[in-house]
Subunit: 226 residues, 2 copies
């Protein structure tokens, strides 16, 4: 089975790499293509993770099973997503989540050794891989910080107030898109849109392209329960 | 200022590299040495992180300031520790913690560019760096999973039960040492030792070198609040 250069271009690991470099790289790369029908179980929580999986087509739902057997959805992985790049190189390389096909799914699988060799031969790939794992660490650390807030309003207020301190500006640059923000807060996207709309309507926040302006910091702080 | 090969050997990034390779690498490496007196502020939460810091001597306390201005200690970084390797490469490369010198401290600082060049020239270094960030991701993901448990007893029970499922064994291999486990649960080491001792005394757990044997799974499960 072949794979198109354009499909890899969507993936963050191949960001800023010229199309001809990707085409040349694919000719020598040790990889496999996997296909899954809708609702298929792709990988199970606890499985050893020995090849890097990239989503070429479809949506994957990453879920964890808690000790009572209850399934909790962690995130949706769509075309272009890199799956668990950190786990591939961790001492404990067991997958912390189960992966389920949310639609028909096509994956690119690259063995660990081939990933290391890609890092050696393509500096941009190396930088992209390190960015990917770095971004994941920032995301998880932020999520831990936000877990102490009970409601979505509180989480959003806590996040924006913290970013405004970090960015030293009441006009907060949004690092994440709406979907990523919803994942960060552990809610569905429509719920987050609703809370944003409420805060716009109350004159507390103002949307300004890729920025959120905090118009009323005192009212935003009041959303935080003591 | 010079630096000893033996000091780098303690650092996980130079693990399994022959001493003569480290010596040769140091001769061409672009690095700086920083020294701080006890109680000095090394880096502030929100600072841009552009050079990788490795602890050569002393202890550093990583702290965050919450929205009410309260300081919360996150972890202690000792000789051999790699500081925030993920942040160096993240799109948002601002430090999520403040770094304070807990004793006199000596740091090795390697600019981002030099780190990438090390990855190119030394495969072991690359693998070590990827392991380091990967381990961090696993640690944070596990921490998120455990945050839902209120008491330390619950966290420990939840952790051991989850590991026994993942490892498919009632004799659980301890991936972390006591200090790392205490960091994972967000408690001080003596508190964790105390809970371990109680569970040994009650015949629920048995220590067996680097393993914890779960003797009474039902009683361990009872520690989890519904």
């Amino acid at each position: 089975m072949t794979i198109e250069t354009t499909q890899l271009h969507k993936c963050s690991l191949f960001k800023n790499m010229p199309a001809d470099e990707i085409t040349a790289l694919l000719e020598v790369l040790d990889y496999r293509i996997y296909r899954y029908p809708k609702n298929a179980l792709i990988r199970l929580q606890g499985d050893r993770y020995r090849e890097l999986l990239l989503v070429l087509e479809g949506d994957i739902s990453a879920e964890i099973q808690d000790l009572s057997g209850k399934t909790i959805k962690i995130e949706t992985l769509s075309a272009g997503a890199v799956i668990a790049s950190g786990v591939l190189f961790a001492a404990d390389n067991t997958l912390p989540v189960s992966l389920n096909a949310h639609s028909t799914v096509k994956l690119l699988a690259v063995p660990k050794k081939a990933v290391i060799s890609l890092c050696h031969r393509h500096q941009k790939f190396l930088e992209n891989l390190l960015s990917d794992t770095g971004d994941k660490i920032i995301f998880l650390a932020e999520k831990i910080r936000l877990l102490k807030f009970a409601s979505l309003e509180e989480k959003l207020a806590g996040y924006l107030l913290h970013q405004s301190i970090k960015q030293k500006n009441d006009r907060v640059s949004l690092i994440y898109n709406l979907k990523q923000l919803a994942d960060l807060f552990g809610v569905a996207r429509p719920s987050l849109s609703r809370v944003f709309s409420q805060l716009y309507a109350q004159g507390i926040l103002l949307r300004d392209r890729k920025f959120i302006k905090i118009l009323d910091k005192d009212k935003l702080r009041l959303l935080l329960k003591p």
